[in-house]
Symmetry: C2
Subunit: 169 residues, 2 copies
């Protein structure tokens, strides 16, 4: 960060401009298309690649697009409180969590931070993306609060081609 410059201050100025028209004013809290998407926080992901508009879906994002206690909580709230009926889990190629291991990641951060930490207990690094997607689907499908009527499907998004590929089984 350059001295005296803050991106957050720029964001506040841009929000002031946005609020003059507030085009999203009419959206309701219930996802229009009854869809919840769990995906990665990565810069290269956007609802645009899915043909979705703001308001269509709940978007849940964490490092990797992993089913954790927190993303599960979000999906459960999404379904029971706000009526979503389909869950998409999307991992992507070239994910930061694929370029490392659990051990290596913890060591690097500890060294940089100069101190250990108890939480987060896991980083969810992974080597095989198809396997990783299947594992996330399994966690959702076996959870007592994810009803059988909710469609749970998993995908790999290829950042080079822009294409989704479904992972079955």
């Amino acid at each position: 960060m350059l001295l005296g410059m803050s991106v957050i201050d720029d964001v506040l100025a841009a929000n002031e401009v946005y609020s003059r028209t507030h085009e999203l004013r009419r959206l309701t809290p219930r996802p229009e298309r009854k869809l919840a998407v769990l995906t990665c926080m990565d810069t290269r992901l956007s609802i645009r690649t899915l043909g979705l508009k703001t308001g269509d879906a709940h978007i849940i994002r964490n490092a990797g697009g992993i089913v954790t206690e927190d993303s599960l909580r979000s999906l459960v709230v999404s379904h029971y409180l706000l009526g979503t009926e389909e869950f998409m889990v999307i991992n992507h190629t070239d994910c930061g969590l694929m370029l490392t291991t659990e051990e290596d990641l913890r060591t690097r951060i500890q060294n940089r931070a100069g101190t250990a930490a108890v939480t987060p207990a896991f980083f969810y690094a992974f080597a095989n993306i198809e396997e990783n997607v299947r594992h996330q689907l399994q966690k959702l499908r076996t959870h007592p609060w994810v009803p059988k009527e909710v469609a749970v499907r998993g995908f790999v998004y290829d950042v080079a081609s822009g294409r989704l590929r479904e992972i079955t089984g």
Copy 2:
């Protein structure tokens, strides 16, 4: 969901169209503006309200915009692996988690699902939004892996006006 119709199938068809041009092809995994935003999965939130473009920032989203073990993991990965230097935490007015209590939410879901579940252990329902934002900031600022050099600032987004309001202290 109407019989035989699936939103996810529509998304796949839309992605096929998107991939023909793949306008986001040139983005890099490092957030252009070195910013990470933690906010809610709510339908009414969009980077558009922040004047951000895809690629500018890491976007982390869960029910509420809560600092959990998982969102903390994501922010830590964002900073140490991908170089973000500012964290924005954004809660919003009319959040589903404000209209309920921890107890009520658990009871409603258990009754609908017909079964109890151990995880998620908490839903992070809250009553006072300013207090809630402050609590999230505190969790971040006191974590050993969030360095002092990282700017950590908190906001309430008003879904009626489209404006961000900073929460200090």
